[in-house]
Symmetry: C2
Subunit: 229 residues, 2 copies
DNA sequence: CGTCCGCTTGAATAGTGTCAAGGTGGGTGG
DNA sequence: CCACCCACCTTGACACTATTCAAGCGGACG
């Protein structure tokens, strides 16, 4: 079996949303503590390692994922089977929201794959639906995450897949540096293949652009960590 | 003043949502008739002619638009001021949803321009908010439209702005033929400039691709109406 | 009737993909 | 521990695609 298609997840714990350290970033920030006392199915806390697959495109599923830390690639295959990264979703983001639609047929419409280490909560659809019913204040929080998905997709259209390749690669690196960098301004290296699937180019062209940026000293990579100016 | 930047709208009537012929396609299909008896601000029924501008990117606004018939281009300018059509939204679609976000600062994040004749209802934000509060069943309807925006954006990424130009143009024409055609299979011609802003190419390249398809007999245009096989 | 705008076409050029070959580094098994 | 292997990255050559610049055409409209 192709390792890239294996789910590579570790169960960490049954989530204790009442005392969650990062709840203020999640959709549950709007809920009172007692909301979590009687939910139908438990919320689990999972971690995925690099390239771990949360779910595949077209696969039936019944979980929505709330990202605690790390970044997830959303991938869509085109008519020829070529895979495109349609956006990167980070902490606070909500994945699998399409399952809430009656038209979705209970299937994920994109694939979700961990880019680096990812730490998240897996929320059963039934639990989310019940919480929404009991606490309508949850709706705006979910809507906000959905709206953010559209905004991120727009950014991909105007910045990452349109225009000359060198500007697309620069925009993509700038995104990684701006959104995913640690306190030292370093972000984890994205593979050339992923970058190619993101900016809509061939691996070779991406490699050449990155080499040019390294020659200029604008991009520096060592030990899987990079900086970009 | 540049005509392209003028709002070109006609007021038709004060909307009577109780007896609206197309309510079943709109977000209001989930509401009972009496919901419309005491709304704070009235919903107006407007039409926009070709290239009429509903709103511009970054402009403050307090209306959400529900499309009754026709198609609207959502346009985003990139860092160099080049405008990209990030999607086409049709009947049943909801525009300006970003105003619901607290982070939006009350401004539209994309421009909306009529592609052909458009017939729509203009819903004051205050009215939408009040209806949502009184009728939480409205939330899923709004969420569904928002989710649809993300799906449309994904389609643009994988089909309209990625890959070889001739496939992008074909995909775009196929979309127009599939989504916007009348009962005779005819759809209204899109200008070369709009097509270029949609598929991310130069006007000249688009013109050449369209000329090639016409030579092959796959695209036929007459009198502003086209068919595509 | 003249102007403007959108469309078309040609030619030169730059950009990008493809194919091919070779390099590098990390991991595995002997 | 070392040799090997494989996945990933790099580089070059070449073909092809798309952009740019330039010129001209035609219809709509004042």
């Amino acid at each position: 079996m192709n390792r890239a298609h294996c789910t590579d997840a570790n169960w960490v714990e049954r989530s204790d949303c009442r005392h969650c350290a990062v709840r203020q970033f999640s959709i549950f920030s709007v809920l009172p503590e007692e909301a979590f006392s009687a939910i139908p199915e438990p919320i689990d806390h999972l971690t995925y390692s690099k390239q771990g697959r949360l779910y595949s495109q077209g696969e039936p599923g019944e979980y929505v994922f709330s990202i605690r830390s790390g970044w997830v690639k959303l991938v869509v295959g085109d008519a020829d089977g070529v895979e495109h990264i349609v956006r990167l979703v980070g902490p606070g983001g909500l994945l699998g929201l399409e399952l809430l639609l009656s038209s979705a047929d209970g299937r994920y419409s994109r694939a979700a794959v961990a880019h680096g280490e990812v730490d998240l909560c897996r929320i059963p659809l039934s639990t989310l639906r019940e919480l929404e019913l009991k606490h309508p204040e949850l709706y705006p929080a979910v809507f906000q995450r959905c709206s953010e998905q559209a905004r991120l997709a727009d950014e991909v259209i105007v910045s990452f897949v349109s225009g000359a390749l060198h500007t697309r690669v620069e925009h993509a690196l700038a995104f990684l540096a701006r959104e995913t960098a640690d306190q030292h301004g370093q972000f984890s290296k994205m593979s050339d293949a992923d970058m190619a699937a993101w900016v809509g180019a061939s691996v070779e062209s991406v490699s050449r652009e990155l080499a040019a940026l390294k020659r200029q000293g604008r991009l520096q990579c060592a030990d899987g960590r990079c900086t970009f100016v």
